[in-house]
């Protein structure tokens, strides 16, 4: 992608994010959009988001890859890894070369390296005193992520975080914890719906997700609602 095209796409990403916030949205859809934007626009190979669950632990809520290996790796990261450190320190944590000190987080580093991931960047989803989770960018190459992409990722993450916190203030009295837990449970229903569609339409899990997403987008419905209908068998593909 050349620079002009990339800038256009980045502009589109911010515009879409802003439109979504203006029009009303589901938190999970917003986070899914965010990881996809990061993957498409930045020099990263995969991206994921972890939110703090009701028990105070970080859980994977969105990922660019369907591969369970990636989700498991991020979950290990949440127990002991750069993303946990990022969440606690509320600051960006950069690991430009996992191989330099793999003993720092042995489980996470071994799993990441086994998948060909060599550098990781964790960005806090934070607004002033509140941190709701982390955005994790993974690269197969060694080395720091370039400054331009860091700024873009931080800005995308900031807009999404402000949107999530703002939505709660305006619309309902539920606690932040409830709101985040709701997004996490949406993910469970979406995974179940993928299994339903993969089985009934006889397609892969990846293709099933593409079908669900397509249906949600063309009907301007939240992923969670489409998934709920599929799991209840009220909707069939």
């Amino acid at each position: 992608m050349n620079e002009t095209v990339r800038l256009e796409h980045l502009f589109d990403a911010f515009a879409t994010l802003a439109d979504t916030l203006v029009a009303g949205y589901d938190v999970l859809d917003l986070l899914q959009l965010l990881v996809e934007n990061c993957h498409d626009l930045l020099d990263v190979d995969s991206a994921g988001i972890l939110l703090e669950n009701a028990a105070g632990r970080l859980e994977v809520v969105a990922s660019t890859s369907e591969a369970n290996t990636l989700v498991e790796m991020m979950q290990l990261d949440a127990d002991a890894g750069p993303c946990l450190e990022c969440f606690h320190t509320r600051a960006i944590v950069s690991v430009p070369d996992i191989d330099v000190d793999p003993s720092r987080w042995p489980d996470f580093c071994a799993t990441a390296l086994a998948q060909g991931i060599h550098s990781v960047y964790a960005i806090p989803l934070r607004l002033r005193e509140t941190t709701i989770g982390t955005l994790n960018l993974m690269r197969n190459e060694r080395g720091e992520l370039n400054q331009r992409d860091i700024r873009a990722a931080q800005a995308l993450a900031d807009v999404a975080t402000i949107g999530i916190l703002q939505e709660r203030t305006i619309r309902d009295a539920s606690t932040l914890r409830d709101q985040l837990q709701h997004a996490l449970s949406s993910r469970i229903i979406i995974e179940q719906a993928k299994g339903v569609v993969a089985e009934t339409a006889n397609v892969s899990i990846e293709a099933a997700f593409a079908l669900i997403r397509e249906h949600a987008r063309s009907n301007q419905t939240a992923l969670r609602l489409v998934a709920q209908q599929l799991v209840a068998r009220d909707l069939r593909f």
Partner: protein
């Protein structure tokens, strides 16, 4: 133990269990709660890990009736 309780611990090991739950829902027309129960019971009685059972279901190597 409700689905949310099960799944909260499940999240720690990936998403395959939820996907396999969907497969079982489609195959047996049962609810999500029941489908997950069946997976957990099968894992318990066969001695396999829940992740392994989920993987087998998704790969069509195992069908829970």
């Amino acid at each position: 133990m409700g689905v949310e309780d099960h799944t909260r611990t499940r999240m720690a090991v990936g998403w395959e269990v939820h996907q396999a739950t969907g497969t079982v829902i489609a195959q047996t027309s049962c609810s999500a709660d029941e489908a997950l129960e069946r997976i957990l019971e099968y894992a318990h009685s066969s001695g396999a890990s829940v992740d392994q059972v989920a993987e087998d279901i998704l790969a069509d190597r195992l069908k829970l009736s």
